[in-house]
């Protein structure tokens, strides 16, 4: 137990490091990503952070990246937006890069047309891919998508389809276009190729997970994330990092899984996408996902505490992890709020179920809120029928209901018999009325016009 305690303290220290000493972690944080997503991440951080120092650093790093990518358009935008940090447009660089840009584009387009004219399908594909990447890097991601989606003009083997799908998905996730993501994931899965490559399957799973999360289906999303294999870590860097997957997977699970599903290896959540394998898929007892959780031990700690009903720990740790979530690109405000709301509701349910009566004065500090706020929350949940209980507002106790099944059943039978009789009578009347085909409300004899008249 002493070693456990030590671990907890260390974890907390690391977290504090992350939040307060941001300048240190920002660089290493961004190193985890590859490609144009770095810029997007840095700009998101710059937009959401209130720490001026952090913002300045993010902007500077972003400008550096943009210059590396030779992305003139976004470079100009960023400089203009964050001019207060004393960044000036490097006109020489812009000129030079513009010329380079034109040269490169011409070269790539020439390669493409030559490959097309000489009917070299393999080279044509490579050229299109190169053009796609070029445009993505230099800021025209929509054009990049069009090139990548047309990568397989003409005959294509199943493995080509999968490759194209992977390329498209990367850009689609960058653009947060989840419908394209879903489209191309199914294209890849239906290509007929048995995808044996764990990297590709994990990538597809994570992509699907992100799309589902964006659409609010947290349970399904969690099921997807939990299938991921750590080997995808490197390829994944153009989309997100291993830490991000750990975060997203855990919070989706906490928002939607039952307690059994969190831990019990028997409760498989979803079948694997390859038909010959089924994995063990709970959150905590998962041979694959545990590697992801290693990268963020505080997330694992949170999930374990949640499972063990140690809610005071959970809600104490939650705010700092929320900060970490805010940096994330795919977890937007609504998703964050949903996570919190759903996880909290389930936590309350889990807390209350085993008891006959619960003292709200004891419960409130566990859930990091005042007794009055807790009472309001509980009343709301009771009205929503999430929990069945009744509140004694005087003594501040929550009582489990006494099950009086007999009177409940009697009431239901009485209501049913009454409604049966009434409905049958109404039915009989209607049938008898419709028997007389001419018995209906009609125009009066005086109404010879075609307008509808009132009788």
């Amino acid at each position: 137990t002493t070693t456990k305690k030590k671990k907890k303290r260390n974890i907390k220290k690391n977290m504090d490091l992350m939040i307060d000493d941001e300048s240190f972690s920002l660089k290493t944080y961004i190193e985890g990503y590859k490609g144009p997503i770095r810029v997007k991440r840095l700009l998101t951080i710059a937009k959401t952070t209130d720490n001026e120092l952090q913002q300045k650093q993010a902007v500077e790093l972003a400008v550096e990246e943009l210059q590396k990518n030779k992305n003139i358009l976004e470079y100009e935008e960023v400089i203009e937006k964050y001019g207060k940090y004393g960044l000036i447009r490097d006109e020489d660089w812009i000129e030079k890069t513009r010329r380079e840009h034109i040269d490169e584009l011409q070269r790539l387009e020439a390669e493409e047309s030559s490959a097309r004219n000489n009917n070299l399908s393999h080279e044509l594909r490579a050229a299109k891919k190169a053009l796609g990447h070029f445009h993505w890097r230099t800021g025209d991601s929509k054009k990049a998508l069009t090139y990548l989606m047309k990568m397989n003009e003409g005959y294509s083997r199943p493995e080509d389809i999968v490759e194209m799908a992977v390329e498209v998905i990367q850009v689609a996730l960058y653009l947060k276009n989840y419908s394209i993501v879903n489209q191309y994931v199914s294209k890849a899965l239906q290509s007929g190729e048995k995808i044996r490559d764990k990297v590709t399957t994990s990538l597809l799973d994570i992509a699907t997970g992100i799309a589902m999360m964006g659409n609010g289906s947290y349970g399904a999303a969690a099921g997807r994330f939990l299938l991921a294999d750590i080997v995808v870590a490197d390829k994944l860097r153009t989309v997100c990092t291993v830490e991000d997957v750990a975060l997203m997977g855990t919070f989706c699970a906490l928002a939607s899984f039952t307690r059994k599903q969190l831990n019990d290896p028997e409760y498989a959540v979803v079948q694997a996408n390859t038909k010959n394998q089924t994995h063990v898929l709970s959150l905590l007892n998962n041979t694959l996902f545990t590697n992801f959780l290693d990268s963020m031990p505080e997330v694992r700690a949170l999930a374990t505490a949640y499972f063990n009903s140690n809610f005071s720990v959970v809600f104490k740790m939650y705010p700092s992890l929320e900060k970490r979530m805010k940096l994330g690109y795919h977890i937007n405000g609504k998703v964050q709020r949903d996570f919190y709301k759903k996880a909290r509701e389930k936590a309350i349910k889990q807390y209350v179920t085993p008891f006959h009566s619960v003292d709200m004065n004891v419960m409130a500090p566990e859930f990091a809120c005042s007794v009055a706020a807790l009472e309001k929350e509980l009343a709301h949940l009771i009205r929503k029928r999430s929990i069945t209980a009744r509140i004694d507002s005087h003594k501040k106790i929550l009582y489990a209901p006494l099950s009086d099944q007999r009177s409940r059943t009697l009431n239901r039978i009485q209501a049913l018999s009454k409604s049966y009789v009434i409905d049958t009578q109404n039915h009989l009347l209607r049938m008898n009325v419709s028997k007389h085909k001419d018995f209906l409300v009609n125009h009066t004899k005086a109404a010879n016009t075609t307008k509808k008249q009132f009788i």
Binding site: D392, H394, Q414, T424, N432, N442
Partner: protein
């Protein structure tokens, strides 16, 4: 005129009542031209009990022309008192006309109360069964409503209407609409909201090719009473004719807006009540009473919801949740406890309310009620079987589909 009287006399004496009906129907114009001279002296030549059929035609035709004068009213009254059932049923349409005009006139002359016993005796005599609807039903109800005799009206409404037979009873669709509209109003007066909803909804489902103003008024009340009965905005019944369901909502926009505000969960201040009271549409439709009751009902409903969430709750808390000021809360709760709408005890010292659970109904009471309901249900299903036999399954055109005979 004389010719008509002779025809009536001859045909009736010969027992050729059907032929008489046909002949009279063909000569309606002639009748219309001759009835101006009609007077109570006709009863000397044509005693009512023997010549009801012919007399119905004559008197009904006279009554429709302009406003009935005193002797016409007298003639109508005599017919209603002495008619022969068989002949009246053959002249059912005209009989219905007499009833409607007679009742309308009596109401205008403030004699509705006096007329009610007469109408009741006519009904008992004329009716085919307690389950058939006749024009007399709606006439009786309109009298009862005018003089606010709800108890008498509800006695009539106790019998379930299950059938109509327009050719024998002279029922017109308008009569049916009026019956269900008036019936709903009676139940409103007695605060039987569930029954009122039922009556208004039947009015909405009468088959129609044209929208009737009776249906529109029924709909407005249907919405309000539906809120009082079930706490939500009811939809138009799906059995309503297309014409009705399509255009009805546009005639009741004020009501739908009103109910939307009530159900939206927003806090309503005194302004809302004031604006409702002075609302022009509600004033014109005479529905201010119902709308104010709806506003009241909202508070009561909220309190009832509280009984399932809380065991004990402070008075100030209730006041806040239900949007009532604190002094009103206690009196409102007392009212509700006395009405039996909630079961609770108020502790003034702690300013707390404790909600108690219902006493469990004893098994014997419950079984008694269930048995009576089951008897009703069995009787109904027997009726259904009869109907099925008569009009559906064994009809010639369906036989090939029911049996394997092709």
């Amino acid at each position: 005129m004389q010719h008509l009287v002779d025809t009536i006399k001859r045909k009736t004496d010969d027992g050729e009542l059907d032929k008489l009906v046909t002949e009279l129907d063909q000569n309606l114009d002639k009748i219309r031209m001759s009835v101006s001279k009609l007077s109570p002296r006709i009863f000397e030549t044509l005693p009512i009990a023997n010549y009801t059929l012919g007399l119905c035609y004559l008197i009904a035709t006279k009554a429709v022309i302009g406003t009935p004068k005193e002797d016409t009213i007298f003639m109508m009254q005599r017919i209603l008192q002495e008619f022969d059932v068989k002949q009246a049923r053959l002249a059912s349409r005209k009989f219905g006309v007499i009833i409607n005009i007679f009742t309308k006139q009596k109401i205008e002359d403030n004699q509705a109360k006096l007329v009610m016993p007469l109408l009741l005796s006519v009904l008992n005599k004329f009716q085919i069964s307690k389950h058939h609807l006749t024009p007399i039903h709606s006439a009786y109800l309109s009298c009862a409503l005018t003089c606010k005799r709800y108890a008498a009206a509800s006695k009539l409404l106790k019998h379930q209407i299950l059938e109509i037979e327009p050719s024998i009873t002279g029922l017109t669709p308008k009569d049916m609409l009026l019956f269900y509209y008036y019936g709903g109003m009676v139940h409103c007066g007695l605060k039987n909201w569930d029954e009122a909803v039922r009556f208004f909804s039947i009015a909405l489902t009468v088959p129609a090719h044209v929208l009737s103003s009776i249906v529109i008024e029924s709909f407005k009340k249907y919405l309000l009473v539906g809120y009082l009965a079930e706490g939500k905005i009811l939809k138009i019944p799906k059995h309503a004719s297309v014409v009705v369901s399509r255009s009805l909502e546009s005639f009741a926009t004020q009501y739908i807006d009103f109910l939307n505000t009530l159900t939206s969960g927003e806090k309503m201040g005194k302004d809302f009540m004031r604006s409702t009271k002075s609302n022009e549409t509600f004033k014109k439709d005479n529905t201010i009473g119902l709308t104010l009751q709806c506003i009241e009902a909202k508070k009561r409903r909220k309190i009832q919801e509280l009984t399932s969430t809380y065991l004990t709750i402070g008075l100030s808390n209730i006041a806040e949740l239900v949007n009532v000021n604190e002094k009103e809360v206690e009196s409102l709760l007392l009212q509700m406890i006395e009405n039996g709408e909630i079961r609770a005890t108020i502790s003034q010292r702690d300013a707390m309310v404790v909600f108690t659970d219902a006493d469990d109904q004893t098994i014997e009471e419950a079984m008694k009620e269930l048995n009576s309901k089951m008897a009703e249900a069995v009787e109904l299903s027997n009726r259904m079987k009869e109907m099925d036999k008569k009009s559906i399954t064994f009809r010639r055109i369906y036989m090939p589909y029911v049996t394997s005979y092709r």
